[in-house]
């Protein structure tokens, strides 16, 4: 088994509302996968279906090689829910112990893992405190410890850093890096692109319940370059010629903005424009951020 998650035409309707229209995706073992989309795109619904919290209206899916709804597989999945809401009358260590019992961990395993995880999320001192006295950041950290408790093969994090301070975000990032190093697959549901940019191997953009683009993050961001040309005059021949390097051309007066796949074509491009004798005043290449790409992908389909 190489795919930890595999979905085929997954669909979820709530009455008349289609939350997820048609979702087909594969996530490989050991991969950190970013699931991106605007609020209301259907990201959390997808997570709920993968975890058996919501039943799909149509389609099939397998998680860790087993069909949806197989409860035994959940002993190998770590999950940090959105909003980090837990039983607040439990104490920190007690909360982890209870979840360890639900996971089927032995007393010995729990005694070993719980103090280690409390230290990892820097809550060693708060083990005896009730969760009701925890700050949002602390709840997020204890939630993260709970997600790591089963020593999982797959970790699903639903908006793990929303509303958190920079320290909380860094902790999530560090944990994701550690999981990746240990070969654990991570499904990161987020709209905070800066997080995704530094952690994910691959991303999928979801909009209105459909995946509009899936790509390796390196290829997606590093390969793409935006070039701004300032020319003396814009002729139809010039635009026609430029299209051989990019289909994504935008003209604003005598300014042409285009996206190219590879920086290596820049010398050829500049030489060709000079040869056209339209007057080349400036040629400025600039990297595209994931955020820019996100906005483009989401707006392009609108």
């Amino acid at each position: 088994m190489t795919n930890v998650i595999e979905t085929h035409h997954l669909r979820k309707e709530y009455g008349d509302k289609v939350a997820v229209a048609d979702l087909t995706l594969q996530i490989e073992r050991g991969e950190v996968f970013g699931f991106l989309g605007p609020n209301g795109a259907g990201k959390t619904t997808v997570v709920k279906m993968l975890l058996g919290l919501a039943a799909p209206t149509a389609g099939t899916a397998q998680v860790l090689g087993r069909p949806l709804g197989d409860t035994s597989i959940r002993a190998r999945i770590g999950f940090l829910p959105e909003h980090f809401r837990f039983h607040e009358w439990l104490q920190g260590a007690e909360f982890l112990d209870l979840h360890g019992q639900l996971l089927g961990l032995t007393a010995g395993q729990r005694a070993k893992r719980i103090p280690r995880l409390l230290n990892l999320v820097e809550l060693g001192d708060a083990a005896g405190r009730r969760l009701s006295t925890f700050s949002k950041g602390m709840l997020q950290r204890i939630g993260l410890a709970q997600a790591l408790l089963p020593d999982p093969d797959l970790v699903i994090l639903d908006e793990p850093t929303s509303g958190l301070d920079p320290l909380g975000r860094r902790l999530v990032r560090d944990v994701i890096h550690q999981l990746k190093a240990a070969g654990t697959a991570v499904f990161l549901n987020s709209h905070l692109l800066s997080e995704v940019e530094v952690t994910c191997d691959r991303v999928a953009f979801i909009k209105e319940g459909r995946i509009v683009r899936t790509a390796r993050l390196g290829a997606l961001v590093e390969g793409l370059t935006e070039v701004v040309l300032q020319v003396g005059q814009v002729t139809p021949e010039l635009l026609e010629g430029l299209r051989r390097w990019s289909q994504d051309l935008r003209v604003d007066g005598r300014r042409i903005t285009m996206t190219i796949q590879d920086e290596e074509i820049l010398p050829h491009l500049s030489q060709w424009v000079v040869d056209q004798r339209v007057g080349l005043y400036a040629l400025t290449p600039q990297q595209i951020s994931l955020e820019e790409l996100f906005v483009r992908v989401v707006e392009a389909q609108a």
């Binding site: 959940r74 209870l98 979840h99």
Partner: protein, 277 residues
């Protein structure tokens, strides 16, 4: 079995939230008040009138029934108020998500919770009823017949209400579920009285109304069964007795109550197992 983890979690929740302790404390305040009141009334009666032991027992039994009726009412309140949000509240606050995504079946979550509440209710009922019986024994040297069975039936009544509250919790909001449980209890309560009065007046229609409401929620019928169990035959036949049991539900009603709990919990498991969380 992971259901027992849920049982322990729920039991701990009830303790932590101080609900059980508050309800127990209030219950014992009632038992203490009953003891004081009963002591003086008992002294008054035994001191002034020359009554035979059997007449005295009828009087004592009447007071005991009245006291148990209050405890019965307290435990119905306790059953609804403690459990009304245990399913719907966890769904609304999303705390259920961290449980339901563990390798535990949904039926284990629901049955685990029910078992914990049913156990707590039985303990609550046993403590208060036991307290009341002890008070009566110490003051009047009286123990009613079948008192253990009576406590058992009172617990059964609490479990019936608990099953209603659990089923409602799987598809209603906490407030709507509370309203449903109390409305049903109210209907069964009024229906029970209609049946009593109908029985005394030998009005068949009124008796039938009572039976229909008992089928809707057999709580009041089980109470009458519980009370009649410990009452001497004479007290049962007193027409003007507010806690009397002129019309005693048949043993079939007890079987019905057992089935009622099983069916309601089965439907609750079915609904909870299929709904999105």
């Amino acid at each position: 079995m992971r259901m027992w983890v849920i049982v322990r979690l729920t039991a701990r929740e009830v303790q932590r939230r101080k609900l059980l302790w508050m309800a127990l404390a209030l219950g014992f305040v009632f038992v203490a008040l009953f003891a004081v009141g009963f002591h003086f009334i008992y002294q008054e009666i035994t001191g002034q009138v020359a009554v035979g032991r059997s007449e005295l027992n009828i009087f004592v039994n009447f007071f005991l029934t009245a006291g148990l009726y209050v405890i019965n009412f307290l435990s119905v309140m306790m059953a609804v108020l403690t459990s009304v949000g245990t399913v719907s509240g966890e769904i609304a606050s999303h705390t259920i998500q961290s449980l339901a995504t563990k390798p535990v079946h949904r039926w284990e979550i629901l049955l685990g919770k029910w078992t914990a509440y049913a156990g707590m209710l039985a303990v609550y009922m046993a403590c208060l009823s036991g307290g009341l019986l002890l008070v009566v024994y110490l003051i009047a040297d009286y123990t009613p017949q079948n008192w253990l069975g009576t406590i058992g039936f009172l617990a059964l009544e609490g479990w019936v209400i608990l099953a209603v509250s659990f089923l409602g919790g799987t598809f209603l909001s906490t407030v709507a579920n509370g309203v449903l449980a109390f409305m049903l209890y109210g209907i069964a309560f009024v229906g029970g009285w209609v049946e009593q009065i109908g029985s005394l007046m030998q009005n068949e229609a009124a008796v039938n109304i009572g039976i229909v409401t008992s089928l809707l929620l057999p709580s009041e019928a089980i109470w009458r069964r519980a009370a009649s169990l410990m009452q001497p035959a004479l007290i049962r036949s007193l027409p003007s007795n507010p806690f009397g049991t002129a019309s005693v539900p048949s043993p079939a009603m007890v079987v019905y109550a057992g089935l009622y709990i099983v069916v309601l919990l089965t439907v609750a498991l079915w609904v909870f197992g299929r709904r999105d969380l």
